[in-house]
Assembly symmetry: C2
Homo-oligomer: 295 residues x 2
Amino acid sequence: MLGGIEMGGTKMVCAVSLDGRSVLAEVRYPTGSDPAAAMARAADFFLSHDRPLDALGVGAFGPCDPSTTSPTYGHITTTPKPGWAGADVLGLLRGRLGGVPIAFDTDVNAAALGELRCGAGRGLESLVYLTIGTGIGGGAVAGGRLIHGLTHPEMGHIRVRRPAEEIGVFPGVCPFHGDCLEGVASGPALAARWGVPGPELPPDHPAWELEANYLAESVATLVLVLSPQRIVVGGGVGLAPRLIERIRPRVLALIGGYVRHEQLAEGAEEFIVAPALGDQAGVVGALCLAQDALA
Amino acid sequence: MLGGIEMGGTKMVCAVSLDGRSVLAEVRYPTGSDPAAAMARAADFFLSHDRPLDALGVGAFGPCDPSTTSPTYGHITTTPKPGWAGADVLGLLRGRLGGVPIAFDTDVNAAALGELRCGAGRGLESLVYLTIGTGIGGGAVAGGRLIHGLTHPEMGHIRVRRPAEEIGVFPGVCPFHGDCLEGVASGPALAARWGVPGPELPPDHPAWELEANYLAESVATLVLVLSPQRIVVGGGVGLAPRLIERIRPRVLALIGGYVRHEQLAEGAEEFIVAPALGDQAGVVGALCLAQDALA
């Protein structure tokens, strides 16, 4: 049996599966501020089934350390989240689960892998998963493999061009960068800029024009840097009504005919898409990580 | 014996090697406007040695098609370069060289692989190679493998934030995008903006402050999207005196302490570096491609 954990900033989702795709049983609970308690509860769930756990995949909020050769592999690193800075997630799980193979990656990399193998990217080898909600994060697969290196991608913090008049009225909400993408286009950024939460802004509000511009510029940058076969845009803000429809033509205009491919023709409707797995992308991706850990 | 071809927009470099690293013999000639003649000359060189050619690697100017599963794999695609649009490079070589295994990728991906295996990235698994010259291009390795997908990365065409006063005086020179990175920071952009070729601008000219800002923002974006273990900055403009020294602190300021790693401490002197292979990165990388084609 395979297990997957999606560790979100606010909630944990644990699931088991026989084939690594269809979820047999699932449990959700608040992430809280006690890593030992949170991981013990996950382990208890995995040990509560008749079949033994063969492998486990973990997709964790970041910053975290997904480098298998690093001494802090499987740790949450510099998060401001109370109780979690430096938490040895992998160590806590191993203490309860013994020698079961465990794979650890970021939540957005897990979601990218889930969408590639079981969702919007089936049959492809490369994909970017971008989620726009409380924060903005991205995961990427190239040649069938998740992208890592020094640490892990932090796509939500790239800079975007802003209209001059916006720079004057809104400095952005990112505590590290002010007006990086997350600082101007996340849910909290929309709320700070317009005085009401993003979901309450009507579809014809000028906020959405600006939001579509920021996201389109970021998506165009991701196309030019990674050349993925598909880009999945999700998250509470990303899935706002008609937002993806507004992003597509702007991305094509920014690419300006320079990258030519049939996927970019006819409005990019199959190129920039919503998640096929909805909010299950992360935990299904964690199950995919488990399957790889078994192999 | 292994062969490598670096196909540049203006010159071709062909080399042979026994070990895939040290070059045994090399020939350089103008790329010209006749693909059949250029590839015949390359094939003649490879067939002129005592030992038979075991495998060949090609690093080509773009846009080209490096997708092995595509019907136009190994073709130059939509280049404005006279004579070369649609040229079947791989087909022309196969017609002369028969069944020798041939690997085909972009010139900048080849250079990235060359620097990773034999140059500034030895011992690493991920690296970005960015070249700033007549054009701006980038190649990337993650997990030891070159990044592809829909087509290939076109990192030189990402957008960068520009000072408001610059937007008013200089629209940029990119025929596709105006003021994308290549449009404002390439050699021709410097010449168009300041009226003299880049190499003639004195090191204390304000052009270099602006250039360092544009390049630093692009490098920061690449760090946040790809998280490479090292970034190699080369090319005729990229290697201008003191430019890399100016880029490093600006990249660190843009990352703003959000990505933490020892490589980013102490001025990033081992993180953002010049090519160790100089102008041989491309052809050495092509030899690395040949070695992989053999395996």
